[in-house]
Symmetry: C2
Subunit: 145 residues, 2 copies
Amino acid sequence: MSAGDSHTASPDLNERLEVSGFRFTPQRQRVYDVLHEKRDHPTAEEVFIRAKHGMPDISMATVYNCLDALVKSGLARQVTLERGATRFCPNMAEHAHFHCDTCGRVFDVALAPDSTLLPLPKGFKINRCDIAAHGICADCARKAK
Amino acid sequence: MSAGDSHTASPDLNERLEVSGFRFTPQRQRVYDVLHEKRDHPTAEEVFIRAKHGMPDISMATVYNCLDALVKSGLARQVTLERGATRFCPNMAEHAHFHCDTCGRVFDVALAPDSTLLPLPKGFKINRCDIAAHGICADCARKAK
DNA sequence: CGGCTATTTAGAATTATTCTAAGTATTGAC
DNA sequence: GTCAATACTTAGAATAATTCTAAATAGCCG
């Protein structure tokens, strides 16, 4: 079996799931792989469609379950940018999202190192912080001219 | 008629709607008032329930239509913090939102004056930027002890 | 192996939102 | 002021996104 074989349980995935009280399953591996194959912030339905290639019997409910397990294990983030379907992102590094209002694509944007300093009221404790910019991407801006 | 009578068309509301190509209607006034009476980021359904007090025949479809008109006129913001219903916020000043994962309440948080500097790739143009923090609010943190 | 529990599955149910068609109100032209 | 055009409201149907349910399956630990 080759080193890069994506059907092998990633040691990381396996461990991270177990630490969070989840079991490793082929379906979770598949969903995890789908998120990493094309990091374009797919919706649950898009993940479902992609996951079926190579695992035709996987069901929508399982995709939701797997995405949930990945999110709770700190292996993916849920991204809610607009009304409508939630998107999923396997990039766990601190970053913001840019949503193009014209084409609908979502881009990862690095953050300036000091940028997340919210002056919170006393007693509030922050777990995570989502930054979502909306506008027009370079491609669409060019075409619009 | 008293100066503070909220049933009078606010000159601002009236004008802002017209500038954006919308008509002024009593329903839009009512929805606008509801958002300002209690600035707690209600969902469309909560707005609907509140709007019915004093306007019992207003319909859900109209609430959606009014909220849409207000958002498009720059008089309210749509806030999508999590899976589930969209919330609405009449605070048009630049600010972030804090969502308490325990009680579900949403708080406005002022921003540090310099905080919104995303290093965007070339050609990208930003319209607006939503910052959403998630964690635990002071009340819930105290109770949890 | 055998029992326990997590997971998967298909499909039903629920929730949030949008659409539709008919009626009503408002506006602008005359 | 009347008329036509258009915007708006309404109830209810339709759609989309997600969650729930119950039964079957699979992995884990003794």
